[in-house]
Assembly symmetry: C2
Homo-oligomer: 209 residues x 2
């Protein structure tokens, strides 16, 4: 019924360890989120994120028993690739993936909070821009930032976007936003936990592309 509620993230355990298998299952539905934006301009972003997920999955599948949590992977790579780490392997893929996940989180939260352009209440540009500025802008050079501003023109109307999130069903905006808020609980906790892990392990980089 809802793209989001059908594929919820699970509640984190008290130690905030993220189970790799369950994370990969939940996150595998995220690339289709970009289809909800309704323009194939975004297929490029979809492939980038999909690439991140495949890279993490490939490492996990080499030794599922060893890589039970995401932290197990990042720590193992720190050992194995001391010279290049953290710009390497699944550590790099998850570094970028978490930014895409944060982008989606802030976008959805902003919509759920009713933030809007009063002059254009059916546009989501203010919400997309907020998400971009907080999650991604600082990692993009000026040309990619300019490309973002052009791509923003392809962003869908809010009503169409919420309809796609509901898999094409006509639902009332408020009902859809109830689903979004529900989805955001465990999702936000998971994304926060990944960011915390990168800070704790000193695994974050701030180069721009």
């Amino acid at each position: 019924m809802s793209l989001l509620l059908d594929n919820q993230f699970i509640e984190l355990p008290p130690d905030k360890a993220i189970n790799t298998k369950l994370f990969l299952d939940a996150v595998s539905h995220i690339p289709s989120f970009f289809d909800c934006l309704g323009s194939n301009v975004f297929s490029v972003i979809k492939s980038d994120i999909n690439g991140n997920i495949m890279k993490i999955k490939a490492v996990y599948l080499k030794d599922p028993a060893k890589y039970v949590s995401l932290q197990d992977i990042v720590e193992a790579e720190r050992e194995a690739h001391a010279a290049e780490w953290p710009k390497v392997g699944a550590t790099l893929a998850l570094m970028w993936l978490k930014r895409g996940l944060r982008f989606i989180q802030i976008l959805l939260q902003s919509l759920a909070d009713g933030e809007r352009d009063e002059n254009n209440p059916n546009l989501i540009r203010v919400n997309v821009t907020k998400a971009y500025e907080q999650a991604l802008k600082k990692y993009h050079g000026w040309i990619v930032q300019k490309i973002f501003h052009v791509a923003l023109l392809a962003a869908p109307y809010k009503s169409n976007f919420l309809k796609s999130l509901s898999k094409g069903e006509e639902v009332k905006e408020e009902d859809c936003l109830i689903n979004v808020r529900q989805f955001l609980i465990n999702y936000t906790a998971t994304v926060d936990a990944i960011y915390e892990m990168y800070t704790n392990l000193n695994a974050e980089l701030d180069y721009t592309v």
Copy 2:
């Protein structure tokens, strides 16, 4: 010594059949061409083209004896997927790949012919724009066209571009262009033959992305 001359395309036989294996070998070096543009803005295009090549290769490897020429693949897919063809499989991948190859061909030809902006002789924008207009523009909607114009700002200086084509060696511009002209002979013939095949088989589409 030269990215291009190290990986030349072979001369076509009289019937212009393109040997799949030799084509895939030669074309596998093309994605690194986009590294010569010197900005990671172009890595997105590199992955798109790489995806095309991987898709064709995957089909070929299923039955190398059956798919000796590219035309064998396209014809087999026409049989196997009558309903969706030609927007399917390796037929679709090659349809887009040939446009990227044509883009590169026209860009290199324009440089080899000495076409330039007299006010900015070390810029390649006029050459890149010519290649884009002839090979790709009509398949891009207005937003992607606008993105092209922004991405053009990331195009390298001619001197740097020619240097990367020579794998970082300092060569005289004229020496590099001699290599380019040599490379273009079989390359252009191959690209032309693919276009001809798409026309003959009625396999060309003109939808925009």
